[in-house]
Symmetry: C2
Subunit: 144 residues, 2 copies
C-alpha cells in the first residue's frame, strides 16, 4: 500500500491550513470546527512553514496558560517537518511517525505539499487492505 | 499480537489520571508535562469515569474559549468509553479505534482498569512484530 492510495481513500482531501501570522486562537477554532488533529502553517497552502497540532496547543497551554492563544502560530508550531512522497509505503510512513512520535505528515512533490495524511488514515487504509486480502483468499479457497 | 503484549512492551506502564473534580487546567498541566495525549478520569485510578484527551481540550477551547480551563474535567470529558481486555488482538483494537475515531483505550479486567493503550502503542507493537517475523523468515532462508 502506497501513500498515493491512502490519499485517494480519504473522503476529505482538502488540507486545512492557516497563515504563519494567524493566532493560535484562529488555529484552535479551525481544529475544533473541523474536528481535526493538526493544521498546516503555510502562506500559500503549498509551501509548508510548519504544522500546528492539538499536542502543540495543549503543551503551550500547560507551559504558558491561555496567553498562548494570542500568539502567532509560527511561534509555537512544529517547524522541523518530516514529509513523505506519494510513492512511499504505508509501513515506511508508520515507522517514521512512530519513531518521531508525530501523527501527521505532509505529502510533498517537488517541494510543494499535495496532501496530508494522519496515523489514523494510514491505519484505516492498512485495515481495508487486510480486509481485501482476506476476502481474496476466501474467494480463492471457495473457488477450488 | 494481543493487548497483553502491547502493555508489556510499553516502557511507562503507569496510567496518568485525574479526579472528576479536577479542573481542565490541572489536566492540561499533566498532559503537557508528561507529553501524553489523554488522561483517565477516575476517583481511585481503577474505576473509569471518563477520558480527557487533547482533542476534548482543543474542541472546548474552540467552542467556549479559555474559560473552559476552570471547569471540572467531568464536564468536558468523554464518558462513553470503549475499552478492551488483555486477550483482545491488536487488529481488533485498531479497528475499534479507527471506527470510533479515538486514540486511547483503557484495558479492563473485572470492571477495573489495568492499563491504557494508545493507537501509537498498537502501531509500534505491530511494527516490532512485523520486524521479528521478517527476521525469522530471513533466518529460515539463510538456514537452508
Amino acid at each position: 500500500m502506497l501513500v498515493q492510495q491512502i490519499l485517494n481513500s480519504k473522503p476529505d482531501k482538502e488540507v486545512a491550513s492557516v497563515k504563519p501570522g494567524a493566532t493560535v486562537r484562529d488555529a484552535v477554532a479551525l481544529l475544533s470546527a473541523r474536528r481535526i488533529g493538526a493544521v498546516i502553517v503555510s502562506s500559500d497552502g503549498k509551501r509548508v512553514a510548519g504544522i500546528l497540532s492539538e499536542r502543540d496547543v495543549v503543551r503551550e497551554l500547560g507551559r504558558q496558560g491561555p496567553g498562548c492563544l494570542d500568539q502567532p502560530v509560527e511561534q509555537i508550531m512544529t517547524s522541523t517537518i518530516v514529509g513523505c512522497t506519494k510513492s512511499d509505503s504505508a509501513d515506511q510512513v508508520m515507522e517514521r511517525m512512530t519513531e518521531g512520535r508525530f501523527r501527521h505528515m505532509p505529502v510533498m512533490e517537488a517541494g510543494l505539499m499535495i496532501g496530508l495524511i494522519s496515523i489514523g488514515d494510514v491505519v484505516k487504509a492498512r485495515l481495508m487492505e487486510l480486509g481485501m486480502e482476506k476476502d481474496a483468499l476466501e474467494g480463492m479457497i471457495k473457488g477450488f
